[in-house]
Every structure is written in C-alpha cells, then in structure tokens.
Symmetry: C2
Subunit: 307 residues, 2 copies
Amino acid sequence: MSLLVVGSVAFDAIETPFGKTDKIVGGAATYISLCASYFTKDVQLVGVVGDDFPAETIESFKQHGIDTEGLQIKQGEKSFFWSGRYHNDMNSRDTLVTELNVLADFDPILPESYRYPEFVMLGNLAPKVQQTVLERLGHRPRLVVMDTMNFWMEIALDDLKQTLMMVDVLTINDEEARLLSGEYSLVKAARKVLTMGPKFLIIKKGEHGALLFHENEVFFAPALPLEDVFDPTGAGDTFAGGFIGYLAKTKDISFENMKRAIIHGSAMASFCVEKFGTERLIGLTQGDIHDRVEQFRKLSQFDFQLA
Amino acid sequence: MSLLVVGSVAFDAIETPFGKTDKIVGGAATYISLCASYFTKDVQLVGVVGDDFPAETIESFKQHGIDTEGLQIKQGEKSFFWSGRYHNDMNSRDTLVTELNVLADFDPILPESYRYPEFVMLGNLAPKVQQTVLERLGHRPRLVVMDTMNFWMEIALDDLKQTLMMVDVLTINDEEARLLSGEYSLVKAARKVLTMGPKFLIIKKGEHGALLFHENEVFFAPALPLEDVFDPTGAGDTFAGGFIGYLAKTKDISFENMKRAIIHGSAMASFCVEKFGTERLIGLTQGDIHDRVEQFRKLSQFDFQLA
C-alpha cells in the first residue's frame, strides 16, 4: 500500500525581488513527491518529461525513495516549461511563458504495481487527466486528494465538476474557492464546494495560512511568519505533499489527524519558500522538520482557560 | 485598581455592501469600554462629546458598569463625527467625512479617582493627548496598551515616537507596522518596533487574524471565519477592549496569559462585525462569550503529536 502522486514534472524559470533563476527543476509532482518522501518511502510518481530532463534529478528522486517507474521520458520532446515573475508583495505573479510541450497530450500510464495505492495525490493537471488516473486504478483508494486551479474552472468546468465527484479532499486557494462557488465569504464558499463531491476542503491562503472544512467543522493552520519569503513557487504543492505524506505515514484519515497533517504541510511549505525552487527540500533532516513543527505548535497553541 | 480607557466617543455614519446607517454612536473608547465591561466592572472612561451626544447612551455606559465621570460634555459644541464607505471586500474603506469638533482641542482631564489605574488602554488619538494622559497619572500603571494609526505616523511621527517610549504594548495593523518600521516582512517590522519602546507588539491583520510579538516569541490568533462580515467598524477597538479587559480581569500580564487575552479579544471582535456599530456588543451574555471562545479553541487547537 502506497502513495500515488500524479502531476507535472517540469522546468521553471523564476524572477522574484531577490533574484532570478535559469531553468530549474519544478512541477507540482516534483514538489509533492520530494516533500512526501520525508514521511513515507512508498511514493510512486506518475508524470512525463522530455529527453531534456536531467538524469541526475531522476536519480535524486530515487535517492529520496521515490519510485519513478511511472515517469515517462519522451525521446525527442521537451519538458513542460513555465516562467513567472513575482511582484514585490510575493502574493501575486505574472506568467511570462507557458510551454506545454510533453504535457499537451499527457496520457498518464500506470505501471501495474501502481494500481492499488492506499493514498492518491492528484497534482494540478487537466481534470480529464486526473480523472483518467482514477479510472485506471484497480480499486478505490482510501483517500484521494486533488489540487486544481482557476485556469480549469475557466476552460474545463464540466470536466472539473466530474472529477470533483471522485475525490475526497480538494485543495484550492481562496480566490479559487470564490470562483468555484460564486460566494465571497469563504464559509459560504466551503459549504457550497462540500456539496460538489469532496468531503473535505482545504482553502490555502498563502502567507495567511490554510483552512480545513469538513461538514460543520473548521480548522485553521497559520503560516509561519518568516523574515523573508525568497520564492513562493511550489509552496502549495509542498503543503499538499506534507499533508498527504503525513496521512500516508500515520494511516489515520480522521478530521483530528488531518489537523496535524495540515500543520505538517504548513511546516514543509515554510521550508520551501526559503530558497529558490526545490533547493530547500533537498537534504532536510527529521530533526529540522520536528523543530519546525514545534515552532508551529508554539505559534498557535495556548493553554486554554476561560475567563 | 482599575482599567482606564481613553479615546474618542463619537458619531459614525457607515455604508457597507449590506446597507447604511444614519449617525450612530461609535468611537474607539466606546467600543473599548463596552467590550472591556464584559470582563471587569472597574472601567473608567476619559473622553469628550458635545451636547448632541445622547444622554441615554451615557446611561447605557453606566449600566455596563463604566464610570463616566471622565467623559466631558461640552455645551454648545458637537461630537466628533466620522463617515465612511467600505468596499466590497470589507478590507478597505473610504473616509467620506471627518469632523473633529470637540476632539480638535481635547484636553484629557483625569478625575482624581482615575489617577491610579492598574491598566491603561490608550485608544487611537493624537499621540500628544495620549502622552498627556500618562503624564497626569499619579503612578506608573502595571500595563499601558496603546493603539494608533497611519495618520499619526504621517503627520506626528516625533510625538508618536515619544509616546511609544512610555507604553508596554502597541497595537497596529499590518500596513501600519510596515509604515512605522520601513520593513515589509512583519517579522522584521516587529523586531524594529520592539526597539522603539513597547515590549509587546500586536499586529492586527483583520480577517487574517493577529500576531503577538515579544522578544523572540511570536503567537498567532486566527480570526473566526464568518458567513458574513456585516460592518468591520470598531473591530480593532473591540479586539483591544477584549484584550485589556481579559488582562484586567485575570491580573496576569505574562506572555502566556496575553495569548489567552488575544483569543478573547478576537472572540469579542468576531461579535462586533456581525451587526452595525456597537449593536452586537450590547446585551451579550457570559455564555455567548464562553461559546465563542470555545469556537476559537476548536478552530486553532490540535492534539499535538509528532510524525
């Protein structure tokens, strides 16, 4: 029983007020898998790259315990490429370049050993592709988590709605929650989204933390106040990787344990933004993670006593 | 030993996407005192109004146990009046009218019985006036909390810096923290502000909660996700009133107890925004407050367990 991760494996070029990168390795499934690998060594990766993708990166995935049998390498083709520039507040960005390349006609083929995962994390991709993955599974996983974005709400809403009916947890940001529901209040938005299929909704608010909604319950995890946010790229995917990784490790999908999973996701995301790309997600120790989670505990926990 | 509250007592006229009011009672000291009165019956109010201010409102202050001996009533003059219109997101507003009236030359006279308070809450006023209050006290209070705003940073920065040297806790919002410190990162901003006098800094982020900084420690209290924010006017003052009221009640100014005080302030603020003006702050029960604080506990507390 394992964690199946599906999503883009790609190149990014990033500009922030702190500097700019050449093409570096990025992609939702890259961040998710690397992050989840700190919690479970049973990660199976499905994605597609071109023959321009560095062999040493795939080797580094393997060293993190990630199974890359499902990572297709298309000879003579190029990997997905995204380039963006962050504004000074780091909360908004402009996309400069999007080259779909191998992602344009991505057929998510599952090796036989991937067909019975306990947990599935669908990184942001066309909803049809996410749906295809679920249809190719040999059983219904214990928990399916799906990430998506405003782009698909605008151009593939019907597909998205179909896919939503097949998942347990949806992760979107606040603007996407408003767009999908037509409600400004996040409480009202959550209530509506929870009628669309998912039993749990995570609304990511970036530097303002994340909300977990389930039935009539709500939990809030803060973001760690940081001296500098160096590069927010991949923070949402890293958050998702920590969330699903923690659940896969603890094998407990209760609401109470999801709270802890969200705290772990937030802790991992707080590492991610400290350096460009995936740099900070390489070579973390369990002690680093433990200390960071402890910072979250101190940040948000109080000794409860009514007046 | 008591809680001294100084600030505006005024009229507001408010427009929000939900409706608009005629002139209704507002003012920082109004919100602070009313809110604090749920925690301690030893509130002494210093402020100034014109003869247009309703006697029944002053009577209602008294019924809340607020000592109004220090509320000056200027015959033949008019009360401070502010009018504003909130934008659709409720996070920003335009000021339509500001009539200083009696506040233009406010001399904060302290009745003799007010000169030895244990706690002082300086609501937003000209820093010089806040300073005069402290100078007129017969002793150094156990804790002085000060609220201020961007306006004074722009037109009276030297006065403000002098006053900051005399207070223990400063409450400002995120934009004001950036303006006062010249730092974008709130962590860096807090570090700088904590060298300016206050030993504790509370940064209010509205619907995104509040941060408490002290030495190298930081605590975060979320805002309660609400179905509708009806009118944000007075939320910051109500927050301050709950914070100082809880401290005055518990007589414990440790960092640990300030965490609980901030949760109580946040709970009180979540009531305030549910109706126009002070409407929701009238007639709350201890049960209402208990239940709301319990909602905050459920929202942010998790059963801690490391992976």
